[in-house]
């Protein structure tokens, strides 16, 4: 078979993988955003216990490889708690927890970047701490965080490839399956690479357009 035939034959299955990859990335990042926002807010609070818990979570996740986290959730938790988790659920959980820690740091950085004087001003105008955070700090901080979120989304999208090790049929796993049938690793890995590149390139362009709209 010529290279072109090999590629054309593989393309439908690979494109299915692209859809799964995108789905995993979007779901994980949405969950990670919530986790990261909570952990980031905990990290900037005055309560020592909350701050300690958030720091522990962030340091733990950032200090260990994502692969270890995936194995821990997919293989370790079922062994510990005697439950069964589907590969997809385990993968999404691991990816969300991982991205959540990085987003927590982004959120913390964003909140810190807002001038302290604004907090003092709104507090002395009679807003509660919660209202100050919600109405004054977060709207400005979140806008500053947008580029970092986009960055994290792209990193998470690339990280979905690691979920192939627990058998989720995303783009990389589908590539592996095809290669194990036809042994054409050069063509297939080449196409998989092009697909990842194209997705990420389009997304970066799209996000840059949106950013310009926002600011």
């Amino acid at each position: 078979m010529s290279s072109l035939q090999v590629i054309l034959e593989a393309l439908p299955i690979l494109l299915q993988g692209v859809l799964i990859t995108l789905k995993l990335a979007v779901i994980s990042l949405c969950i990670a955003f919530v986790i990261g926002l909570i952990a980031g807010l905990m990290n900037t609070s005055n309560n020592k216990i909350l701050r300690g818990a958030a720091t522990f979570y962030v340091d733990l996740i950032r200090g260990t490889p994502l692969l270890v986290q995936i194995f821990f959730i997919y293989l370790g938790l079922p062994a510990l708690l005697d439950i069964r988790i589907s590969a997809e659920l385990g993968g999404i959980a691991a990816l969300s927890l991982n991205a959540g820690a990085y987003i927590a740091e982004v959120v913390r950085g964003g909140i810190i970047s807002i001038d302290k004087g604004q907090v003092e001003a709104s507090r002395s105008l009679g807003l509660s701490r919660f209202m100050t955070m919600r109405l004054v700090i977060l709207p400005q901080a979140l806008r500053r965080m947008i580029p970092a979120f986009v960055n994290q989304f792209i990193i998470s999208l690339k990280d979905t490839s690691l979920l192939s090790v627990i058998g989720i049929r995303e783009l990389t796993q589908n590539g592996e399956i095809i290669i194990s049938a036809n042994f054409r690793s050069f063509e297939i890995w080449g196409v998989v690479g092009v697909l990842y590149f194209v997705i990420i390139y389009i997304l970066t362009r799209l996000f840059r357009l949106l950013e310009r709209r926002f600011n």
């Binding site: 950032r62 200090g63 692969l67 270890v68 062994a79 690339k158 592996e176 990842y196």
Partner: protein
């Protein structure tokens, strides 16, 4: 869970051998990717015609691909064009290329952060372009790059775990093999692996913090 049997002498030695392999591959890749990143970053900074844009495209491609794919490619696709690499070399080549691309961007932005006025001043004081780069821009730029560089090295160390897919006998691979012996070993072995990664990374980030206060 069975900590006692999971951490038998044989298992521990097996896992620690993997840890040694992880450190070795990470160390070599850190040095090579640093050298590569510095060269590519400087060339892109100096805007040499043809060479700089071509390197720019290559860096963009590498940065936008998942590392896992680059590792697969180095091990399984390169033989198709006549380059046969064992797991160790494939891992080092893949890590060096990917992290080198990342580091080149750090280097480039570090150099760009140096005020243009300094370069103009040095040039009008009679320094050649190369001496300006060597004596004025690089020493200051490198200092500013220390924090992002260390965090990139930490990522690299964690990324060596991906070489498990090409059966490089590093920490993750050995841990997986031990886990394969018994269902009761899953938690203890994963905890040990996580602890080992964490310990090295934490030490690295502490060193980084020391360097930051010393240099900047």
């Amino acid at each position: 869970m069975d900590f006692a049997n999971a951490f038998s002498i044989d298992n521990l030695r097996f896992i620690l051998e993997g840890f040694y392999m992880t450190l070795k591959v990470a160390f070599i890749s850190i040095i090579l990717s640093f050298v590569l990143g510095c060269i590519v970053g400087t060339i892109r900074y100096t805007k040499i015609p043809v060479l700089s844009p071509v390197l720019g495209i290559l860096v963009e491609i590498l940065r936008n691909l998942p590392l896992l794919l680059i590792i697969f490619f180095a091990r399984f696709a390169l033989p198709d064009i006549g380059i046969q690499l064992g797991p160790v070399y494939a891992a080092i080549v893949a890590l060096t290329l990917f992290e080198g691309a990342m580091i080149s961007e750090i280097v480039r932005s570090g150099l760009n952060s140096i005020d243009k006025g300094q370069i103009e001043a040095a040039r009008s004081s009679g320094l050649s372009y190369i001496s300006t780069l060597w004596h004025i821009v690089l020493p200051q730029g490198l200092r500013r790059m220390v924090p992002p560089l260390v965090s990139q090295f930490i990522s690299l160390l964690k990324d060596t775990s991906l070489a498990v897919v090409i059966s490089l006998p590093e920490l993750m691979n050995q841990s997986k093999i031990v886990i394969g012996q018994s269902y009761n070993y899953v938690i203890p072995v994963l905890l040990l692996a996580a602890f080992l990664y964490f310990a090295v990374n934490y030490a690295l980030s502490l060193i980084a913090r020391r360097l930051e206060t010393k240099f900047i």
